[in-house]
Symmetry: C2
Subunit: 174 residues, 2 copies
DNA sequence: TTTATGATTGAGTACGCACTCAGCAACGCC
DNA sequence: GGCGTTGCTGAGTGCGTACTCAATCATAAA
């Protein structure tokens, strides 16, 4: 992960990865059949990490705004606290080495969010948009804010708050 | 560009590019010193194309919302009309083969937007956020909407309108 | 027609990569 | 101490890549 974060996915040969991991190149291939396999495993692990950071302490009984705020802060703070993982995840999201299965299994822990959004739309708390649009807005804005925070860490807390304002006023009803 | 759009940047050897272009591989290297050089040239060309599509007919005398709406529609419609260029641009934005100079020169035509945003903030038409945040919100939402449109072309017009609603209510003052 | 100039060609070259596999070390069991 | 099992090793292999360059061709001036 460190390798991918600082040198990029395409510029990380297996020789460098194994050296950084302190094992021989062959060892790497006893645990992962191919390099793509390793990349997919890393993707799933990071996704699970995000899910754990966000979904575990979700205040399921509070109102929509509070829950969304919790999601937002959880996700964005995770990104600020784990810059390497964030960078790598951003690369992997757009990479075509990630299989459809990996994407599906990486998405699974977040299905609950979609259900939440559906309910909120039905209750006219969120605007009547397709839930995918709402979800996509959330993640697009979150990723944007995370790079802002990484570029100017002093204002990190401001960016986090501003980002949520933009999100909420962008998708809340009325 | 077609090559990069359909096979990806990393999976497009110069042999395939030159063949698709109908010239010998050597010819390619008489016009571009390296492959990176070609990629950077393509990046600048696409950026200029976007700028031409958006900035040329900007209604500079109308109010902020109208101008922003024009920018939004111009950018997003360009993406829908030029899916290959859009895909390639999305890849190049995150690629590390693009030099700092290329990025700077690609950004130049859009400097006017930043000035517009600054004025609008001063007039309290847009919220008091850093202009970079406003600009980043615009492009993050636009790119998000463009992939929505590409996935479900029938609803393209809806997505374009929804996207602007989200943007405007997200950054407009009050 | 001859000749000079410059563009085009594509087989060739050097290199970096993912992946392999014959050997080696460590460990427990008799 | 012998012996089987298991995990680790890293030089080696084959392939795909970016890039080169001597030869060829197209054009137009003399």
């Amino acid at each position: 992960m460190k390798m991918f974060a600082e040198r990029g996915l395409g510029a990380s040969p297996t020789s460098a990865i194994s050296k950084a991991a302190g094992v021989a190149e062959g060892t790497l291939f006893t645990y992962f059949k191919t390099k793509d396999d390793l990349v997919n495993a890393l993707y799933r692990e990071i996704k699970l990490d995000v899910a754990a950071a966000i979904m575990s302490s979700l205040p399921r009984t509070k109102d929509v705004r509070s829950r969304l705020h919790h999601l937002w802060d959880g996700y964005v703070s995770w990104g600020a606290a784990n810059p390497d993982q964030r960078k790598v995840l951003a690369q992997l999201q757009v990479s075509d080495t990630i299989t459809a299965e990996s994407r599906a299994s990486g998405y699974a822990p977040f299905a609950e969010i979609e259900a939440m959004a559906r309910d909120a739309v039905a209750e006219q708390i969120l605007r009547d948009y397709p839930v995918q649009l709402i979800a996509a807005t959330l993640s697009a804005l979150a990723e944007m804010i995370m790079v802002c925070m990484a570029q100017d860490p002093k204002k990190a807390a401001h960016y986090r708050a501003w980002g949520f304002e933009i999100l909420w006023s962008g998708i809340a009803a009325k």
